[in-house]
Structure formats: structure tokens, C-alpha cells
Symmetry: D2
Subunit: 113 residues, 4 copies
């Protein structure tokens, strides 16, 4: 896919998508976190009855893979839209969080990140 | 931030992070969708008592903004990790879903995406 | 409805329901919390685009009320089933939690619970 | 616990709890489904790294049991409060849903609910 600013490119598409349907008025942060939580719920539903060991090959399963991909996309799109309307840089926030996690959970002695 | 394959770069950091802590064994798809749902729940909690209109300026609020950024990052990191272990291309899935949504919800006549 | 141990009565019905379908093997706590989270996600979806003020009359809305009732029932059924398989007394846990919350958040001076 | 209308009794306590803190204004259906989803997320977090087989004995685990009980109580309390403010009879809705589920998923031939 587009290697130059793929997040910004997706956000630009979502912005045009919302504008072309007059949906900006629905896209306040409160509604968007709800929509994201709803999609996270649908993602969980894909694997709720799948045995934990079997879930390891879910990415190769012809029935599960497309369902996972679709629900993951839904979560991602609402996350990108939420980042856009709040002006939060998702990529920077992610790198910051990895750094914070690394401090909180140091690597096994002798290994490094 | 890095404009060249930022998602792949974050996934590579998360892969090393998990390896340095022997956490790969926990990162099966079933556990990861649960972890993502947990973080989505925390994201919802940030705005649960915030009035809908006030939520519009949450991105400028000195208390809410960092909390939103952190929870959004957590959702994003688990989503990236899930995409990695299932071999699903998150960016491609997102573009596919926008196309599917555009068919399902056509733009207002006279406007376009 | 039945005023004598309604929670126990619902749990008994759910126990028979699962047994009659050989579903006990799916009803471990990990799967059940996932199922509950999925239904909580569907409940959130009912109101995700509903304006906060309008949501106040959702219980009187002919379209929203039955959808809310159904998703609330789904959350409740998985919660009861989870309580049953873990041997946790949901009613006692709820009373305990109200007491803990009352300590954490004292009433406004001059009022009492 | 109280065998006479335990749900009504809990709802009455929650009503007084909200009134004594002037919290009724926060308890609209939109906020309450968000709060419920947040607690469902915390419930999922309790078991997210617990192996599926180990989760079967979570109700006997000295660390997991109280955490499960607390998060289940939180989900239950918001569910009861939501039922109260929307005027939905949770027990009736649950019985209705069991009947609907029984039609949708008939028992194994020779068995009955």
C-alpha cells in the first residue's frame, strides 16, 4: 500500500467520506469512542467460541480471516477518525506508549528491545 | 514521524518488545482481541461522564487529551499486534472497508468521496 | 415476574438450556467474558449515534426500547451464566460493591443513602 | 440474600445512591451504556492473559475470584441502573430472550430445556 503517510491518507479519505454524507455532526469524540467500542465488541465475537489454541491459526482460517480483517478494519477506521477529530497523532502516541511500557516492564536480563 | 511504512515499523518494535519479555506465548489472537476490548473499554471510560457537546473539545482539554491519547495508543498497539500475528494487512483491510462502506452508504447526491 | 429467587431461576433455565445443546463445554469463564463484552458492544451500538439528550427518552422510543431490552437481556444472561460457572453470588457481590462505592464516594453533606 | 424482588431492591438502593450525590443528571442511557461497556472491558481484562483451561477454575482462584466478583458487580449495577432509567424490566427481558434463543437454537433431538 501507500508507504507515504498511510495514516494521514486514510484519515483524509474518512474526512471526505463523512463530508459527502453530512456525517461530521455525528463524529464527536463521545460518539466515536462508542462506535469504536461497538466494533471492538464485534471483533471479540469473532473469536468468543473459538478455542484458544485454534485461535492461533485464525489468520489462516478461510472463514475467520475475512471476518477478523473486517472487524479490525472497523476498529482502525474509528480510531483514525477519533484521532483526526481530536487532533491526536496516533503514530506518535503509539511510540510514546511503547517507551512508557518498556520502562514499566523491563526486558528479561540479557535481552533488549 | 517516520513516513515510510509506519505501521510495519511499529509492528517490528512490538515484535521485539514481546520477544524480549517472552510474551509471544500470550499473544494469540484470542488473548489479543480480549486485550484490545479491554483497552477500548478504558477509552470509553475517559468520556463516559463527559457531556456530548463538551466532548467536542476533548482534544484541547489538558486533562482529557493525554488520557485519550494513551488509551487510543493502547487500542492501536493491540490492533497492530493482532494484525501481525494473524498476517492481516491492516492498511489494505481499512481501504477495502472504506470502499465497501461507500457502496453501502452512497454520498448525498451531487457530492462525492 | 417470579419474586422468589429470580436470579437463581434464570440461572437454572440457562443451565438446562446449555445442557440441552451440549454447550457447557463452551461456557468457560474466558469465553463467557468475551461473549458478555460482545453483547455490551452491541448495547453501545444501539445508542452510538443517538444524541445524549434524546437518549433520555430511549426507554419510550418504539424503535430503541426493544433493541435496548434485547441487548440488555443478552448482557444479563451471560453475566448470570458467568456467575453460575464461577460460583459467584451476583446479588451479594452487587450489595458489597454498593457499600464499597458509598465509602469511596460519600453522599453530599446532609443527605444519606 | 433477599429473595423478594432482589432486582427491585438493588435498583432502589442505586436510586438513593445517585440522589444522595446529585448524580441523576449523569445517568442518562447514553452515559450508562458507556459506563457498562467500560466495566465489561475491565471484566475482560481480568482473564485476558489467563489460559482458557485455567479460566475454568477462576472461580476458585484466590486472586481471580474477588476481581471477577467486583467487575461482575460493576457490570450488574450499571445494567440495573440502565434498566431503571429506561423503565425496562430486566427479568422479563431475560426470560423473553431465553424463549427467543430456544426457537433459534433448538435442543439436541431427544433432549429438552
Amino acid at each position: 500500500m501507500n508507504a507515504v503517510d498511510p495514516l494521514g491518507r486514510l484519515q483524509e479519505r474518512l474526512r471526505r467520506f463523512a463530508a459527502a454524507r453530512d456525517w461530521e455532526r455525528f463524529h464527536d469524540p463521545k460518539n466515536l469512542v462508542m462506535a469504536l467500542a461497538g466494533e471492538a465488541g464485534e471483533l471479540v465475537e469473532v473469536l468468543q467460541w473459538v478455542d484458544q489454541d485454534s485461535s492461533r491459526s485464525a489468520g489462516q482460517d478461510p472463514l475467520l480471516r475475512p471476518r477478523l480483517a473486517e472487524e479490525m478494519a472497523d476498529v482502525f477506521l474509528y480510531l483514525l477518525r477519533l484521532a483526526d477529530v481530536t487532533g491526536i497523532d496516533l503514530e506518535a502516541a503509539a511510540h510514546d506508549k511503547i517507551i512508557a511500557n518498556a520502562r514499566r516492564y523491563p526486558p528479561i536480563p540479557g535481552r533488549k528491545d
